[in-house]
Every structure is written in C-alpha cells, then in structure tokens.
C-alpha cells in the first residue's frame, strides 16, 4: 500500500477515535449525578447563578441532548475545550502551558527505558543462562511490582535528601543567573529523577522483551549464515540480529504510551513537575471538570498520535510491511 494512502487512513481512523473520546466525555458529564451545569462549574462553592446561566447558554443545556452534543463537538473541533472556572482561563490555554513539560518527561523516560532495556536484553541474550540474564529476570519482576509513586519518593529521600545530588521537586531553580544554556542544564538536572523513576517500570519490560526476541532471532538461519560467512560477531549481533529483534519492541513501545502517560501523572505529582499530570491532579481535587475532561481528550490525542508515529516507524524499520501492503 502506498505510504500516503496509509497515512491518510491512519489519520482518519485516529480522528474517529478522538470523536468517540469527545462523545464519551459528553456522556460522562451527563451520567454524573446532579445538574450538568453545576458539574461543569465545579463543586467549589461560590458558584453564582450568573455563572450557571452562562454555562447553560454556552453549552446549550436548555436544548435537546442531540443539539447539546453537536454544540460540544463543534466547540472541541474548533480547539475550544471549555473554560476552567477555578483557574479562570480557557482550558486549552491551561493545557498548552503544561503539555511541553509532560512530553519532555514522557519522551525522555521512553527513550531511556528503550535504550537501556535493549542493551540489557542484548547482553542477556548472548548468554541466556548468565548473570545478566538473571539480573534481567529479577529486574523485570521488580519493575512490575514497584508502585511508581513510591519509587519516586524513595529516590527523593536517597538522592535529594540524604545525598543532595538532585533537586527535590519542580522543573527550574527559582533564581538562576546565566544564559540559555545554564537554563537547559538546570531543567535537565531537575529531569533526572522523574525520568529515571518513570523509566524504571518500563525498562524491565523492554529488557525482558529484547532478551526473548534476541534469543529467537539469534537462532535464525540467516544468523548462522552470517556467522558461517565469517561476519564478525559484533556485526552479527548489532547489525543482523538487533535490527530484526527491535521490531516487537517498537510495537510494544507504541502500545505502552497510554501507560506511560498514566505513570507520568503519578510521577509529576510526586516531583511537582509542572506538566499535565499535576494539572489533572489539581483540577480533580477542585472538581474542575472542564480541565479534567480537556486533559483526558488531549491525553487520548497524544496516545493516538504516538500510535500513528509508531506504525510509521515500524514501516520504516521493516521494509517487508511496505511491500506486502498488509496491515498488522
């Protein structure tokens, strides 16, 4: 299948998914006990009749449900995610100021966990009964069982309190002199602990997967052929085998994106990282539903985009899929 057609289909399908996410949001607000206008305004107290009337007018709450849904979909399609009555700001702008920090955290953690996981997996695969293999096995059980928010707190206690190497929380130091580069270093310094915390849970899965997949690939005929031809072992492992072994890791990496965002939510709360997770936490405690729902929509959109990018990456990494033209 032509790549352009493929991308167009994937985008269309992604838009369909997003349509249903928005519909789900709409349904949830209506299912919640109480007057939708009051649900949207939040349960902060001090909600005036004017605010409620304003909400009823904006969302058309006096009109039939179908019209309400159409109004809501229209708003979201125009990038209007509603207004946060607690923060007194449009939700889209609120999220806009936070989304960068979350993307930075999530991508760094994803990169770290895949990189270290694959390296560990490759070393483990070369000696399936060796020390590294045993370590990978232990690690993957630990990674599955560690509550991510607790891991973060433990890292703070050890590496920010007992050994004050890293900052306790936040993303930037309050007062910092110097040029742009100093600021970049400062953010990176703040990024280490949250990113490592988030990477630990996923690292284990990638290591395990890389190990299994490498062992499988290293047993294949073309590897034996490469060795028989006298290709150096390093080249066999890293050039011939690894390229095929990373394919299942790519698939899983794409599927993990939703979990990664869920994990980031907890990690951000622990480290007071100024991203969408802390925003979600603050707005949920304040019953600020427009913000919470906006974050759910944007979070889902991030997963959809990540899935499309993963599929494209898969097509680039595995030419067979392009020529066969089949969908996985």
């Amino acid at each position: 299948m032509d790549t352009v057609v493929y991308v167009a289909r994937r985008l269309f399908y992604g838009l369909m998914l997003m349509f249903f996410v928005v519909v789900l949001n709409f349904v949830l607000i209506r299912l919640a006990p109480g007057d939708p206008a009051e649900v949207i305004a939040g349960e902060m107290g001090g909600t005036t009749q004017e605010i409620l009337a304003d909400i009823r007018a904006t969302y058309g709450l006096d009109k039939p449900v179908a019209t309400q849904l159409a109004i809501y979909l229209g708003q979201v399609a125009h990038g209007d995610l509603g207004k946060s009555f607690f923060f007194d700001q449009p939700v889209a702008r609120l999220i806009g100021t936070r989304i960068g920090a979350t993307i930075l955290l999530v991508l760094t953690a994803q990169f770290l966990s895949i990189l270290i996981g694959v390296v560990m997996g490759v070393f483990a695969a070369r000696k399936p009964n060796g020390v590294v293999s045993a370590l990978v096995a232990v690690f993957s059980t630990l990674g599955y069982a560690l509550p991510v928010f607790w891991t973060g707190i433990m890292l703070i206690i050890v590496f920010a309190s007992w050994l004050p190497i890293f900052p306790v929380e936040g993303m930037r130091s309050a007062r910092l002199e110097g040029g742009g580069f100093v600021h970049v270093l400062d953010v990176l310094h703040h990024l280490v602990l949250p990113a490592v915390t988030l990477a630990i849970i996923f690292l284990a899965q990638y290591a395990r997967l890389a190990r299994t997949s490498m062992i499988e690939v290293l047993g294949a005929d073309y590897i034996r052929t490469a060795r028989a031809k006298g290709v150096p072992e390093r080249r066999v492992v890293f050039h011939h085998a690894l390229r095929n072994a990373v394919l299942p890791i790519l698939t899983v990496a794409g599927l993990q994106f939703g979990n990664l965002i869920s994990g980031a939510l907890l990690v951000e709360t622990v480290f007071n990282w100024p991203g969408m997770g802390t925003l979600a936490f603050d707005s949920i405690l304040r019953r600020d539903y427009p913000t919470v729902m906006g974050i759910l929509i944007i979070g889902a959109a991030m997963v959809v985009v990540a899935n499309i990018l993963t599929d494209l990456g898969y097509r680039l990494a595995d030419p067979r899929i392009r020529t066969e033209g089949g969908r996985r």
């Binding site: 998914l17 399936p128 069982a145 707190i153 433990m154 206690i157 309190s161 539903y289 997963v303």
Partner: protein, 290 residues
Amino acid sequence: MSELSRSAPERAASPAAEAWRMFRRNRPAMLGTAIFLSMLGVVIYGSLFGGDPFEIVWAPQTPPGEDGFVFGTDYLGRSLATGLLVGGAPTMAVGAAAAVLSIFIGVTIGALAGYYGGWVDNLLMRITEFFQVLPALLFAMVLVTLFSPSLVTISTAIGVVMWPQTARLTRAEFLKIRELEYVTAARAIGAGNGRIMWRVILPNALPPLIVSATLTVGVAILFEAGLSFLGLGDPNTMSWGMMIGANREYILDAWWPVTFPGLAIFLTVFSVSLIGDGLNDAFNPKLRER
C-alpha cells in the same frame, strides 16, 4: 463429567495436577505463594483486630522502634503499625474485585470477537482499541471523581480501564483454538455456539488466561494504591496508598511513614508476580529453556 472422560486411562496425570507438581518445585513461585499468604493473613488479622488507624496515639513522627512503636508514628501521631495492619484490606479487596470485573469483561469480549470473527470481531476490537487510547489512570480518576469515591466505584473504575489486554489475549486464544479438530468434532455432534465457546474452547484457553489474570490482580492493586495515593480513595477507609499520600509532604523530615506502606504494596504485588511467573512456567514447560 461425561462417560468418555471417566473411562480415560488413569495413568496420565491431569494437566492441572501436572502443572501443580511443576509449580511446587518452582522455588520463586513457592516463595511468592508464602509471601502472599502471609500478607493475606496479616490483612485478615488486621481488619478483625487491627484497631482504629485514624486514632492519634503518640507524638507525631516518632521514629520506628522508639517508645514501643515498631513502625513509628506518622505526621499526626497515628500508629503506623495499626495503619499497616488495617490498610491492606481495601487495597486487596479492590484489587481482587477490579481484577474479577476486568477479566469478566475482557474474556467475554475477547471470546465473542475471536469466536465469531467477521464484523463482530471488527466492532469489538475497535471498542477495545478505543479503550486502549484512553490513559487508564486518568480515565479511572475521572470516573472516581464524577461518581464519588467508594470501594465499589473505585473497583468498577479500575475494572473498566484494565480489560483491553485480557480481551486481546482471549481473542488470540479463541482464534487459535476454534480451528482445532476437537472444536469441529464438538460442532459435528451438534453442540451450539454457547456450548462450544464456554465449555469447549474456554477451558482449553485457560492456562494463559490464568497467568494473565494473576498479573491483572497485581496491576489492579497498584492502581488502587495510585488512586488512594492521589487522595481519590474512599476517605473513610485507611489504605496503604492513602498512608503514603498523606505523609508525602513530610518525607524530608521522616522517611518511615511513606517507606513501610510502600514496602507492603511492593511485597504484595511482588508475590503475585512471582506466582504468575510460576504458573506461566508450570503451564508452558517448554518456555523454561529460554
């Protein structure tokens, strides 16, 4: 049981007995079972005789071991030992209930999709993908806040966000098994769709499903802990996650009020995971060579 299975030769051990024999010889799995049963015992004892975990009993932040408090006290002066004893019950109960719900939904959807194929499969898998797009924890948070936190809503919310993986696994198993000869044979003797699905295919799909169900329990426990940590648990029930959340502002002054409840969660999930791995090995002896 039918006449056929009763007259089967006695010499062959049943698959279940064989799996149990392998499981028993697996040391990590037996360690996991031991840890899990001890935690369960502590939780049951705690919910019967644990006392009131909200009661302020001593000076705040008493270090562990001092003044007769084995685990110390938290930032309000509540006994951590009592909290640890009592706080496991909601975590384990919600974990179990959520896992049961998610397995029920997942197996039903996966079985229907895998068995019928065609447009049913297409529709159900689209729904599954839709749920996989929603960040699970965020979605669970929204559900819990919209419908006010109680053990029932929390279990439901976690169950509703966790099922897609079970559905995919069940579907894959059903797709594989429905082509096998004994399914054709069952159909030939006139078994209906329902009977084939639940009495013929499902029992044969069980081994991987049991392993995945075990791991689902672990994930559900972590979910409950995460929600309680964020303060979205039932506010009237003490839980391990809630203890961590309540004390996290004070971690730089006192490490113990967050460390011990976290260890309890970790040990519980760790033991579940060891059991899951053991079951996996027991059901797939071939995999052990890897």
